[in-house]
């Protein structure tokens, strides 16, 4: 190791990353190849080739070439821009400076190689073997949130051999060793290898490895040896391939395009048959004037006709469709990026649409799968209330005992205490007064909080304390004590130093009776400077209550009511108690304790007995209430989303109680729900039984066998779909299911049962679920519900779910970026989801639907005219319009206004869509664009094209100009129909646009103006002089557009096309008003003209039940052993370090990494 020349003989993965696709020279060929491998572009290339065949070509080559070139260059520019950005990002990452100890120089990140020793200062590194660190015992603390979603700190420890080197650069540079390890793999929790230094082998395991993606905490520096770099790192090996997501509208659009191709082929076949018949009947007799070309008989000419019509009618699916769709999505994504109402000033994070292809799906969401920690909650615990000696503190009361909204309360001023945490907020002055007055109970209360914990402190500068707590709850409690004058300052294995009201007191720590899941409490035994020994205990109220001294019964009752109140507010509670100990008893106990800890057999049991023995006859001090702070506006958002008929499932790794509690506090579970079913069974049969019972209770009449509707859908109907119908349920129910049961329920034979039951409930909470299960639940709903799902989460454990759902949303601004990186949309606060869905999603969906409808409308109306004309021109593939009009129709004349429609239209503004979340439901039901609406659109366009052709046809029959000259000639007829078409599609645009911004108006009027200007220019003398054969329509605009009968015909055509639509829409609004119309009818005035008063939000009533989530510690055993470990301090003398191998640290390390694959195995067994 650490020898570059030697290491380079092996081919290790380079650390440089490359995400860009092209370089300067490969761009053009590669990009063109890529673009033409898209079906649509390839199709147009094929058309272009067809047009170059003179026998077939019905239109000049430029009618396809110009749009194709424009389309290609637009996407080309976009691709180039994306690639430039990727190049920049790559460069930034690759050129990141890292200290490499070869020559002690800084080196660019991309040049780092396996075997280098680097100093880790930032959080971006490769997979490293930890060599040494600034902390005692060569420990370092890392957070692995980006890897596995766990936010608590983990400890890594270097080998002693390497740790000895410390930060001695010379030693490190000279370090020679050989690492043999397993090849790169994706197991985050396993590592096997050996390090050979000085001919001595040392085993390497996961504890000595720092993985890329970890965040180093509380560690000033550390040195590491690069083991895997670049793509070989476990993080990269673990990141699954991102699947390309398509929206349902996309799929529908593809299907429709395919149908249109079929339709096109049918029409062309009809025209071919028509041509053959015409050739037999008319053409063969017309040869005097139009002789056949030699060798072209009727079948061959019909064959040519088929392809000619393919060319003429190809505008049914114009090349600009996909480009326009992309542009609209991009625009709507920008609107999300730009939205100030989704910008979170505190973290300076704007919302971000990371995928620009899923916008309209946001308007169709039916199921939301949400993570809890960090998503619904802030993952911040705040000390909120407490009950000390039967007195309730922390309520929002004014001095004269009236309830007062929190905002109006003054924060308690803690400036008297120099060690106070300035971020701590408390509103009840009386508590501080009690403490200052010297109320013994209050002081004991906070003394307990300052002593009984496993928090470690760090004081980098005098007075600047930094607590490192294993769980945020503990941190909150210790911080509370700190602010109320009981500052936990520092600890050694034997002592705890506390500043008590400015007085430094050092307690002797005699024992830590650590927390575990069974005990649900923790105690410390300390001796104060006066020699008094006390046991301080905090824990779940039920547990503590069992161990209280009988004299506390009265206080117990009072405290109980307080606890109920806290629980009702959704706070996490702990009961606190103490016990004074006698010297003699303690001596004996400590001795037994000593024996027990050193015992080899039954150590745990013996300790438990000891603990039980001492933790009795406790004196109750009071209770604390810690708030697991919800993010702002979460209950309101959830209420709004529920009103929009979106079902919210919470999938959390947390415990059932916590999840349930949060469910109540954020309004997912409600008191008025008829029943909340809890499924916690441990066998498949039991789970089935519980699920079935729940279902029968909700809906006694439901069929035993679920109805699964099987259908085929998608391209060529290859996709099989299974749909389970929603079942009607009276009343609201909730379902809570835990991880074990979920594992059974997700098995194949039970998944339908789970789905049916779960979908009947208003709310589903899954707790203790693994990342993989999260994804499985999402997949289950996707599979059977054919509904659009959205997953929202913040941590790496949500990644699988985010990737599985149709739309993935990441909460950004947190430390971990993994969820955001794999998400499609990201923003900083859960409450923005409301805006994303109800405003942006709804708009995007409506815009896209309107756009597609209008787009098909305008192209069908335009193209079908050729079909009708075919019957009058001998099916000769004669176009109705001038070829310049064909070239420019989609690219210029109608492109901009339809884009404006797709970008700016709003049927109602955002305030109204928040006021009436029901406005969201049409999207879920696919009401605005479906096969049905497409058929309707088809009927309308058929009518329109008939009118567009036959009115001019009839009006121009034998007609002449006012001066007797020709006006029924082909060129004038083209002029007439194409101008009518422009008027009709503009008028239709006028009807379809609800929100006329200046841009819309400009584009629409501009389109008509451009049409007239371009037409007159192209038909002018000058251009004819220059390009005689390209502009044969010279003069036709001038000669026909000055005729009153031409204009009258155009008006008639236009109104005949538009008025039925107007009448239909008007009557439809009266007879069968849609939700949008209904909302409008509630107001007297046209409702979108006035702004609604913001809907008053009533906070949910306080719960009265005694449901209590009593616990607030982390899930696993605490750090008790670590903090009392003698090895905690960095010891100067080496010998004491030996024997470290059986340090409790290794055994007691909190939660280990778990990979997804392992979870699979677990959940399947």
């Amino acid at each position: 190791a650490n020898d570059r020349a030697f290491n380079q003989t092996w081919q290790y993965a380079k650390n440089a990353i490359k995400t860009s696709k092209y370089n300067l020279f490969s761009f053009l060929p590669l990009n063109l190849f890529e673009q033409f491998s898209r079906l649509a572009n390839a199709y147009f290339l094929f058309l272009l080739i067809l047009e170059l065949i003179p026998q077939i070509s019905a239109v000049p080559w430029f009618t396809t070439a110009v749009p194709l070139i424009v389309v290609l260059s637009i996407s080309g520019v976009k691709d180039a821009n994306d690639d430039i950005n990727r190049h920049k990002q790559d460069k930034q990452v690759n050129n990141h400076k890292v200290k490499v100890l070869i020559h002690g120089e800084e080196e660019k990140w991309m040049n780092i190689q396996v075997g280098d020793i680097i100093k880790v200062e930032s959080n971006q590194f490769a997979d490293l073997l930890l060599l040494s660190s600034s902390e005692p015992l060569n420990l370092i603390y890392v957070e692995t949130a980006e890897l596995d979603g766990e936010t608590n700190l983990k400890v890594k420890q270097a080998l002693t051999v390497t740790g000895e080197m410390g930060d001695n650069i010379d030693d490190l540079s000279a370090f020679r060793g050989e690492v043999r390890c397993e090849p790169p793999n994706n197991h985050l929790d396993k590592f096997k290898g050996t390090l050979t230094v000085d001919e001595q082998q040392h085993g390497l395991d996961n504890d000595k490895i720092l993985l890329r993606g970890c965040t180093v905490r509380n560690t000033e520096w550390c040195f590491g040896l690069v083991i895997f770099a670049g793509l070989d790192t476990k993080l990269m090996q673990n990141s699954g391939r991102t699947t390309f997501k398509r929206t349902s509208i996309d799929q529908l659009m593809n299907l429709l395009v395919l149908c249109i191709f079929g339709f096109l082929a049918t029409i062309c076949a009809i025209m071919t048959v028509g041509h053959a018949i015409w050739e037999v009947n008319e053409g063969s007799t017309f040869t005097a004037f139009l002789p056949r070309q030699s060798g072209v008989d009727i079948p061959l000419s019909s064959f040519y006709t088929f392809w000619s019509y393919v060319i003429v009618l190809n505008t049914l699916v114009p090349s600009s469709l996909y480009v326009s769709v992309e542009m609209i999505r991009l625009g709507n994504s920008f609107f999300i990026d730009w939205d100030r109402k989704m910008y979170y000033p505190k973290k300076d994070t704007p919302a971000q649409a990371r995928t620009t292809t899923l916008n309209e799906e946001l308007g169709q969401i039916k199921y939301i799968f949400s993570d809890k920690t960090g998503t619904l909650t802030q993952n911040i615990m705040t000390f909120n209330k407490c009950s000390i000696n039967g007195r309730n503190y922390g309520r929002n009361l004014t001095p004269d005992d009236n309830e007062c909204p929190l905002q109006n309360m003054k924060r308690v001023d803690f400036t008297w205490n120099q060690l106070a945490d300035p971020k701590f907020v408390f509103h009840d002055y009386s508590l501080l007064e009690s403490v200052k007055e010297g109320n013994p109970e209050a002081q004991a209360f906070f003394r307990l909080l300052a002593l009984c914990h496993t928090v470690m402190s760090e004081e980098k500068k005098e007075g600047e304390l930094n607590y490192q707590a294993q769980s945020p709850d503990e941190g909150a409690l210790v911080t509370a004590a700190r602010n109320f004058g009981f500052v936990f300052r520092s600890r050694t294995p034997e002592t705890i130093t506390v500043m008590e009201m400015g007085r430094k007191v050092t307690y002797e720590l005699l024992a830590v009776l650590d927390f575990n899941n069974v005990r649900k409490r923790m105690s410390v035994i300390v001796r104060d400077p006066e020699g008094k020994m006390t046991l301080y205990c905090k824990g779940a109220d039920t547990i503590i209550y069992e161990r209280l001294h009988p004299s506390c019964s009265k206080l117990k009752d009072v405290t109980s009511t307080h606890l109920n109140e806290y629980a009702g507010d959704g706070l996490r509670t702990l009961a606190l108690a103490y016990k004074d100990l006698e010297e003699s008893y303690m001596e004996r106990w400590l001795q037994r304790h000593q024996e027990a800890t050193t015992a080899i057999e039954g150590r745990e049991d013996r300790l438990d007995v000891l603990y039980e023995d001492i933790e009795t006859h406790l004196m109750l001090l009071g209770a604390t209430a810690v708030e697991d702070k919800l993010q702002d506006g979460v209950p309101h958002t959830i209420e709004q989303l529920a009103k929009a008929d979106i079902k919210i499932w919470v999938l959390t790794g947390d415990k059932q109680e916590t999840a349930e509690n949060i469910g109540y506090s954020c309004n997912i579970l409600r008191e008025e729900m008829k029943e909340i079913f809890v499924v916690t069974a441990n066998t498949a049969d039991k789970v089935k039984e519980e699920l079935q019972n729940a279902r029968r209770k909700m809906c006694p009449g439901s069929a035993e066998k679920p109805k699964v509707i099987k259908a085929r859908a998608g391209l060529f109907w290859l996709q099989k779909t299974q749909t389970v119908q929603d079942e009607k349920v009276n009343g609201e129910y909730g379902l809570i299911i835990n991880g074990h049961s979920l594992a059974y329920a997700l098995q194949e034979d039970l998944e339908l049962e789970l789905l049916r039951t779960a979908c009947m409930c208003k709310t589903v909470i899954c707790c203790r679920v693994t990342p993989l299960q999260k994804a499985q639940v999402v997949e289950l709903v996707k599979k059977y519900k054919q509904a659009i799902t959205l997953a929202i989460g913040d941590g790496a454990n949500d990644v699988s779910m985010i990737k599985a759902a149709h739309v993935g949303v990441g909460i950004s601004g947190q430390e971990g970026m993994q969820a955001v990186l794999s998400s499609d949309f990201s923003f900083a606060q859960f409450r923005y989801l409301q805006r994303l869905l109800l405003a942006h999603g709804r708009w995007s969906y409506i815009r896209m639907c309107k756009f597609l409808q209008y787009f098909f409308y305008k192209n069908f109306s335009y193209t079908l005219l050729h079909f009708w004309y075919g019957f009058f021109c001998g099916f000769s593939a004669q176009t109705v319009y001038d070829s310049w009009f064909i070239t420019l129709y989609n690219m210029v004349y109608t492109a901009t206004s339809v884009l404006a429609l797709g970008l700016f239209d709003q049927d109602v503004n955002d305030r109204w869509s928040f006021r009436y979340p029901q406005l969201y439901s049409p999207g879920q039901l696919n009401m605005f664009f479906s096969k049905r609406t497409f058929v309707q659109c088809l009927i309308v366009t058929t009518y329109t094209s008939l009118v567009l052709f036959f009115i001019p046809w009839a009006a121009m029959q034998d007609s002449v100009r006012g001066d007797g000259k020709d006006v029924a000639d082909y060129q004038s007829f083209s002029m007439l129909t194409q101008t009518s078409l422009m008027l009709v599609v503009s008028a239709q645009m006028f009807l379809d646009t609800h929100y006329w911004t200046a841009i819309n108006q400009f584009f629409l009027l501009g389109s008509i103006a451009a049409y007239l200007a371009i037409t007159f220019t192209f038909y002018s003398n000058g251009l004819f002089f220059m390009f005689t054969s390209s502009f044969p329509f010279i003069g036709s605009a001038r000669n026909s557009l000055n005729q009153p009968n031409v204009w009258l015909t155009m008006f008639l055509t236009c109104l005949l096309c538009i008025l039925p639509t107007v009448a239909y829409r008007f009557l439809h609004m009266l007879l069968r008003p849609t939700i949008t119309d209904k909302v409008g009818n509630q107001n007297q005035k046209p409702f979108y003209c006035i702004d609604p008063a913001p809907a008053p939000y009533r906070p949910p009533p306080r719960r009265v039940s005694t449901r209590r989530s009593s616990y607030a510690f982390s899930h696993s055993q605490g750090y008790g052993d670590l903090v009392t470990s003698r090895k905690f301090l960095r010891l100067k003398r080496r010998p004491s370090l030996f024997g470290r191998k059986d340090s409790p640290l290794v055994e007691n390390q909190p939660q280990r990494y778990r990979t997804i694959t392992e979870e699979t195995k677990e959940s399947q067994t």
Partner: protein, 339 residues
Amino acid sequence: MVKEEQEESPNRPDNTAFTQQRLPAWQPILSASIVIPMFVLIGAAFIGVGVALFIASRDIQLQELDYTGDDSAHPCYKCRSSTEKCTCSMTFSIPNLFKGPVFFYYGLTNYFQNQRKYGASKDDNQLYGDLDYFKDPSSSCDPYTLDSRNIPIVPCGALANSMFNDTFSLSHVVNGTQKIVPLNGKGIAWWTDYNVKFRNPSVTPLINAFNGTKKPTNWPKPAYELDTTDVYNNGFINQDFLVWMRRAALPDFRKLYRRITHDDYVNGLPAGNYTLTIEYNYPVYSFNGRKKVVLSNVSWMGGKNDFLGIAYIVVGSMCVVMSIVMLIVYAKFKFAEDD
């Protein structure tokens, strides 16, 4: 407030009406107070325009004479299949004064001038008088680009080749003698066609330009002899040629042949008997076409076409009916809702 905004983070999105989607906008809605009056107004306007159009169209006089000659009793029957030069004449009477100016049209039916290949079979450059294209006409003219001896045809193409070549003369029977009605062949083509689109090569005499070319196979005489009397009506700018080259949109069409603007007939054709003499050259029998001569005058809205007027009246009436229906529905549902 202003200060704060200056200190804003660059990440904070701009607060403009555009980015926040708060652009001021006009939001029209289909309210009853707009839709129903609109329908009434449109209906009334349409009926008015329709009546005016209908009257204008009705007042136009029209005399149509079919001279295809497929009926054995028809004077032109003999010419139908003759290959020789053949002349026939038809008589007709005009009961009242045929108000002038009178336009003389010929009409063809079942004739597919709008066939794509037929229409494309011409060379605009050649017709613009570009001599390069005299020698080497565009291949779009096939099969009338070169004759059998590879001599270029000018004007090339099927369109030119099939030029209508019946000629007509009209005489008025006044007191038993035939008085020729003078027909004006000028000003029958579009100004742009005559002055811009079609040009003779600037070679004098015109015949020299056509050296080394052949006349279209169907033509009795070459282009430079179309009107030897008038230099400005000869060659490619011959007005009959121009009218023919402006191909019709539909298979049944009529084209302007002459105008009657001279002498005694300035105010129209007086009542009386007329004889139409036809030099019958153009074969239509083979493809079931028909030929006719139409005399017509025009109004402000062009030639006789009843459709437009009737359509306006029908659509206008439908609008009125629709507005009544909508009013009833509106009244019923709106008031029901109010309760």
